[in-house]
Every structure is written in structure tokens, then in C-alpha cells.
Assembly symmetry: C2
């Protein structure tokens, strides 16, 4: 059994892996993806099955997400960060029946022999219950509302399915926002607003197009009234749920005794929402943008936006000196200067391409004479010659901006061409086989969803889109009854 825990022969693995990736993205996406994560030193496997190490190159992406989030979402919406315990008494889970049921299979518990407590203690899979227990002590009056708290933390879900770096692991990092309101309107409006802010984060920071929508009754969060989601679409034709926001209604408030005295001096139940994004977004970003040479990072999350490689010919050391000068001039881009001896320029190019540095600057003796340098974009390999003058930083910023926009457009085009509409089951089955995200008219019945899943060999409902061009509702694609809404189906992670 020991082998289940400690993965062996990692060293052998490393020795056997060359610099390059052994398969093409188009041929074998899972293997390609894993190799990009490992070889770009983004992540590694942890010793306990299903756990992962986020290496500095990967954690830098998470820090960029945190910075963006704290600045553009936490602060402007009046949320404050806090931290609640990792350990949750079992009785808390039992208070909200649907919530308890939804997480039952995934909860890891502390060894009761060690804990010495009379009750089982869970390691948090999510923090609704423990946060709302505190909220019930803190909230007294309408003056205490809205209460808006977010926490950055690790959560544990003891997955029995096969795990994948970032996309599904037994421990991951996330933020979870938990707000309390006087009215359902505020509560639901904010839940929708957070899902839109998530979509904006994906677009502006990660160059990642997503579809924002509501989950069906079948797919909603355990204990929610309505769940909202952003769905990204991966190159293998699978949707990836990339962030969720839940209007929790008043169920948790009732279970945990949250009450407030209103302006009318009477006692009321408040309304609650919760919303989260996780390190899964790192996986979505890598899988969407990277290529057969390795990692491609949207420039805004790249810790080092530039690598400077001096091209040395003979004994002429001037490119090295110029490169050192440039490193200082371009400090705002946190450039790496690759002045290692004993490595060819070509080897260096490959290494930094693998690691996804957005721009490579090459500077050789001829460039120095012309007071120029060469900039090479990681995403498309385009070369540009730039003059070394006052406008240099400005021009580099423009290139990075174009790069972000074009990476987004590229991904958005893929998403657009992946979306199709189906009018009948035959078309739906065919489109799912063709790895599409398929929009259909739907009646809202859980049994129809189950049947579609079976007929399509695994496609699940992804979301009822918030925004739609074609709003014309026909009959339900499965049962032919009047449809209630348009719904996306796709295979998914």
C-alpha cells in the first residue's frame, strides 16, 4: 500500500525527460499538459496521491491573480479579507442537509484517536458552515449589513477520481467570498456581479474567454438557491468550470441562526451569497495558451516579462555590456539576463520558450552598431527590431498589450467556433462527438439532463447563459415539452 502514497522513481523520471515536450498538444493533450506544467517548473506532484506542489513559476501566476483580485474586486466592492479555521466540527455539516449530502463523499477527517475530541472534525472542503457560525454571533442589526468577507486559503476534497495538476487535486488554493444582505435583490444582484467580475478577471488578466451563466437545479451547489458559473472551453473540447457564485437564499441563515433586527425593529432572516475562484484558473490558462514549445503566459501574469539573451560572436563582449545596461533600463519588466557561459543561444532560446517568458530580447554586435535590438514574441514568434531610445519601454509595453489582445482573440475565436446550436438529439450527439459546446432549448427537468448525459456518453449541462443573441425558445431538445431556457451542454473536466 505504501506505493499509493509515496510516488517512487521521480528522479529517474526527471533524468529521462529532455528539455522538449515529447508529444504534440494536438495529439495527446493530457500528456502534453502535464509535461508543460512539469518542464516549465510550474508544478510538481506531491508525495501523497492527488496532491501537488506549486513551484515558484506557478505560484507567481497565483500571486498575480491575488493582486488583481484584491485590487479590483475585494476593495471596490467593500469586501474585507479574513481567515477562518481549517477545522470544522461534523455537527456543522449536519445543520444544512443538502450541503452535508453534497460534500459527504469528499470530506477528509482528522484521526479521532489523535484529536481527542468527542466529535469528528473535518478538514474544510469549503467554509460556509464555519463562517456562518461566526456570522451568527457577529450580526445583530441591519446596521451590521451587508457583511462582506473573503478569505484566501487551502481547501481539501478527498477526490476518488483521477487527479490532474491544477484541474483536480485533493488540496487546492482558492478565495471564497461570503456575504450577508438584508434583501434577496441585493444578494442575487451581487452574486451575478461577482460572476461578471470573474469573467472580467479572466479576460483582462488571463486572456481567457469564458461563458457566464446559471447552473441548472441538478448542477447547482449543495445548499444554493441559484448557482452562477463561468465556463472556459479547453482545446480538447471539454468545458472547465472556472469560478462559481451562489445565491444561497436563506437556508444557511436558518440552519445557523443568522438573524438581524431590521429598521422595523423586528427579527428577520438575512440573505447570503458565496463565490470562489481557485488555482484551477492556472491550469485553464496554461492549457489554453501554451504550445508545443512549452508554456505561453499572458504577459500580465508573467513575473519576468522579458529575457535578454546577448548574442556573443568571437571575443566581442559588447553585447554582454549592452545587455546589462538594458536590464537596468527595462527594470519595470523585471527582465532576466541570461549571461550563462557554456550554453548556445539556441539552447537558451528553447529553455525560455519552455518557461513561457513573453518577450525575448536578442542583442548582438550588429544590433549595437545600429543602436537596435530584436524583440521576439513568445506567442507567435514574431520578430521586431526596436531602436534603443527613450521610446523603448513605451514600445515594449505596446507589444505586450498587443500580445495580450491577440492571445485573447485567438482563444475567443476558438471558443466561438466551438459553440454550435442543436435542434434535435441527433445533432446534439454528433456535436458533442465533434467536441463542441452545444446550445439547446431545454425544459428544466433533471430527468432530461440525465438522459442527455447518457445518450451523449457524458455531456453535462454547463450553464444557462446570462447573455444570449438568439433568445428564441423552442421545444426541449429531449422531451419536446415547452423549453424554459437555453442551456449549454458539453463534456467537461
Amino acid at each position: 500500500m505504501k506505493k499509493a502514497v509515496v510516488k517512487e522513481s521521480k528522479k529517474e523520471e526527471k533524468k529521462d525527460m529532455g528539455l522538449g515536450i515529447s508529444v504534440k498538444k494536438s495529439q495527446d493533450l493530457p500528456t502534453w499538459y502535464e509535461q508543460v506544467c512539469l518542464k516549465a517548473e510550474i508544478a510538481d506532484f506531491g508525495p501523497v496521491k492527488g496532491t501537488m506542489v506549486i513551484r515558484p513559476n506557478g505560484y507567481a501566476i497565483w500571486q498575480a491573480i491575488q493582486d488583481y483580485f484584491n485590487k479590483n474586486i475585494v476593495k471596490p466592492t467593500g469586501v474585507r479579507n479574513a481567515y477562518f479555521p481549517l477545522f470544522i466540527p461534523e455537527s456543522f455539516f449536519k445543520k444544512e442537509a443538502k450541503h452535508a449530502k453534497g460534500f459527504k463523499a469528499e470530506v477528509a477527517w482528522i484521526d479521532p484517536e489523535v484529536s481527542g475530541e468527542g466529535e469528528r472534525i473535518a478538514i474544510r472542503p469549503t467554509s460556509e458552515t464555519i463562517m456562518y457560525d461566526s456570522y451568527s454571533k457577529w450580526i445583530r442589526s441591519y446596521k451590521d449589513l451587508p457583511l462582506k468577507i473573503n478569505q484566501w486559503c487551502n481547501v481539501v476534497r478527498w477526490e476518488t477520481q483521477a487527479t490532474k495538476l491544477f484541474l483536480r487535486s485533493r488540496e487546492f488554493l482558492w478565495q471564497e467570498g461570503h456575504c450577508v444582505y438584508e434583501t434577496e435583490k441585493e444578494c442575487n444582484d451581487d452574486a451575478v456581479n461577482y460572476i461578471k467580475l470573474y469573467a472580467k478577471l479572466c479576460e483582462e488578466l488571463l486572456a481567457l474567454p469564458v461563458i457566464a451563466g446559471a447552473k441548472t437545479e441538478k448542477e447547482k451547489f449543495a445548499g444554493a438557491k441559484t448557482s452562477y458559473t463561468i465556463e472556459a472551453f479547453m482545446p480538447d473540447g471539454k468545458a472547465l468550470q472556472s469560478g462559481t457564485s451562489h445565491n444561497l437564499g436563506q437556508g444557511f441563515a436558518e440552519s445557523f441562526g443568522l438573524k438581524y433586527i431590521g429598521k422595523d425593529e423586528k427579527e428577520h432572516l438575512p440573505w447570503q451569497n458565496s463565490w470562489g475562484i481557485s488555482t484551477r484558473l492556472i491550469g485553464a490558462t496554461i492549457m489554453t495558451h501554451s504550445d508545443d514549445k512549452g508554456l505561453v503566459l499572458p504577459p500580465k501574469v508573467a513575473e519576468n516579462k522579458i529575457v535578454i539573451v546577448p548574442i556573443l560572436i568571437g571575443s566581442d563582449n559588447s553585447p554582454l555590456k549592452k545587455a546589462e545596461e538594458l536590464k537596468k533600463v527595462l527594470e519595470e519588466f523585471n527582465p532576466i539576463l541570461d549571461n550563462r557561459e557554456g550554453y548556445s543561444a539556441g539552447y537558451k532560446f528553447s529553455e525560455w520558450e519552455m518557461k513561457g517568458i513573453p518577450l525575448r530580447i536578442e542583442i548582438g554586435p550588429r544590433d549595437i552598431k545600429e543602436n537596435k535590438l530584436i524583440v521576439v514574441r513568445r506567442d507567435n514568434g514574431k520578430k521586431e527590431s526596436l531602436s534603443i531610445n527613450k521610446e523603448l519601454s513605451n514600445n515594449i509595453n505596446k507589444i505586450l498589450e498587443s500580445m495580450h489582445k491577440e492571445m485573447y482573440s485567438h482563444a475567443k475565436n476558438f471558443l466561438n467556433t466551438s459553440i454550435v446550436e442543436a435542434e434535435n438529439m441527433k445533432d446534439l450527439i454528433k456535436s458533442i462527438e465533434d467536441k463542441k459546446m452545444v446550445l439547446v432549448s431545454f425544459c428544466g427537468e433533471e430527468s432530461c439532463e440525465d438522459n442527455i448525459k447518457e445518450k451523449t456518453q457524458g455531456a453535462s449541462s454547463r450553464c444557462i447563459p446570462l447573455e444570449l443573441k438568439n433568445k428564441k425558445l423552442g421545444k426541449c431538445i429531449y422531451c419536446d415539452k415547452q423549453a424554459k431556457y437555453k442551456l449549454y451542454f458539453a463534456r467537461s473536466y
Copy 2:
């Protein structure tokens, strides 16, 4: 048994607690401290015994520490942040015998029935073992060194002692830096450097004076060659270990198979250090500076540096308008405008004093006529009249700077007057009874430390100071043999 887990009657507790603190700091420090933490809404108790909630007012202090740390310590010393798993296989602990022994009693394990793994899985009490397992895969050559990684995370130590908010809890937040070097000199120099950087953080950010030094063999970290510490000294005459740094020697490298090929093309064992500070620093800061009115925060960690309270007399609303103007002008200080109706100015003053806002601005009709405002310092209550002109922000910044310096001086004076030297056991016992930090000459024998602890009813060795004025070594205070170093003894948390 259930009561051991879920603390009951919290609501009653809150209702019964008035705005003020019911005991004086000088009378009953533990009760006073707990009330400050609770009433300033810094922290609350978690439902599982020994756990705590860090509320937004408290977490803001932690974020200020993180920001300072990432900017002034992580980046300039070439460290990179990363994240390693919460779960550690038991076999890892067994690899380094002393380390395993040191943490044996405190480790919480996952329920083996749930985990389904053949081996016991620990919840990290510290991450040496799991990080060095990864390091052994990543390090190949001297070119990979030094390797410098830090992580921000939660750690769990299943304390059986009584717990205290921030100072001792079963889960806490910290950073742990883990570096690998070619030579012992680099390794130890850096370990000393990190402890000095911690001391600087305490002084510059938290206005907290500390003594930096080395731990004795008896008190050093489980598995370390040498441990360094910063020791703060609390108002009740107890030392508080506030940060540590360890020269781990080559023991972990040997146990975990860390090796590198040197420039000489031969295989070598590297040297390692690890270093950490935790949310305990929040407790040290609160206990040191706060007073009978509630929280006093060093201005640099205060999220809101100013509260503006308009003084309304009759129907004259001009102070409210002026206060709104000032809120915009003073935006850099993230001011709170307390424009609540139905509360007296006196009530508001008390509330913000409890919450530790560094400066209160009062603005009334007479001030407006004179184009002035009143600033009141939280630490000493001093009032100052400032003109509302271009120099306002500048003048407020000067007040905040003075406040920081004077808070530091005040705490430093207390530390200086608490330090005494003892030449014999009688003096040592008396000084410990008098709640002093006592410097003695010491032989280095563990048995002498044990005996001193017994005779003084609990004083432990705190550190061998890095810097000393009086370096004259006499005989060991206990055994009368030749002393090896000067050593501090004190009661401690």
C-alpha cells in the same frame, strides 16, 4: 464530550460585554488581552477547541506584515514564493530522527479509514520534510544553488497546553523560508541575516523591540545545528519567541538525499536553513502597545490610519460637509468617516479608540471658521490643531512618524528596564520573580538549564544574544564552571 468541540453560549457572551474592557492591563493581563482581541474585532474563538478566527481588523495586520515581508525580505534576498502540500506521509517524519521526535506529540493525522492510504498522513506542523523531498528531485548541480523558497501557509500543531488567541493555537498562519547552499558559511550567514531582518521588521513595522540571539542546544529546533530567535518581552514579564531561523546543517540533506555535483564534478551534500514568523506577531504587537481603552496599533499596520468625526452642534451641517471633503483630501490614509446619526461624539470616540485607529480628526463649526481641525493621537491622547492647507497630508504623515517612533521608544524603554544581569542564583531567582529578563554567564550544560528552570519555577533560556555590550564572561551561574557565553533567562509564553 461535544462541549469540548463546540463552544456554546457565545451569543450570551457578546450581549453581556459592554463596549469597554472590564479589567485593567496592569491588573489582569490575560483577561485584558483577550477582551482587546475580541472587542476590537481582531479575532474570535473557533468552534474546535484551540482554533481561532482572524477577523478583518486582525487580518489587515497580517496583510501589512505580508506586504512588508514580500517587498523587503523575499524580493531583495532573491527568495521566491511557492506552495507545498498540507499533507505529509508519516515516513517523511521518520527520516530525520530528531525532527520526528520533536514534533511527535503535536502532529494531527488524517483519519486512516477515510484517507484510504496505507500509511498515516500528517497535517503539516512545519514543511522541512515535504519541501526537501521535492528539493532532492530539483537540485542536480551547483548551478541550481542557492535555492531559496518561501511559502505562506497554515500549519497545525495539536497543542495540549492551554491556547491563547494568536500566541498559541492549534492552527496558525506563517511564512517558512527554506534555502539550500553550497557552503556552511553562506548558509549560516543567511540564517543570521534572516533573524536580523525579522528584528528590523519588528522595529520598522510593528514598533516592537526584540532581542536577537541563538538558542541553546536544549532549546534549539528539532533537527537544527543552530537555531536563532528574536525574543520580545511582554508587559507581564514573559518573553515571547517571535521568529526563528535555523542553520539545519546537513542532516536533512543526508536524510532526504539532497546532493549536488560541484564545480569539481564530485557529489556533495548541501547546507540548509529554514526561518519563519507567524501570526503570533499580531499578538505580540497588540499586547505590547494596547491600553485600558482598547487596541493601540502602530500606524504602519493600521488599515485605516484616520477616523474623521464631525462635531455637530444644532442644525449646522457644515462639519459634515467639511468632513466629507477631508475624507477625499486625506484618501492616502484610507480614512473612515463616522457620520452615523444617533450616536454621540463621545460614544464614537470610545468605539474608535477600542478599535485602535491611530488618529482621530475632530471637526466642528468653530474649527471650520478658523480653517482648522483637531488631530488626536490614539497612543497618548495628545491633541493638535492643524491648518487645513496644502501641508495637511505632510503634517499628518509627520504625526504618524512621531507616533511610530515614540511607540517604539516606549516599548524599548520597557525592555531596557526589564533586562537585568545576575551574578548568582539568589539574584537570578529574585529577578525572575520580579518579572525580569535576566542575563547570566552560562556553561552550556543542559543539566544546568534544567536546574535553573526548576529553581526559578519555570524560567527557560531565551537566547545567547548576537550583540552585547558587556561581554565579560565569568563562571556559570549554576555550576560555577567556566562560562561559555552570556545567556538570557525569563519566564515565557
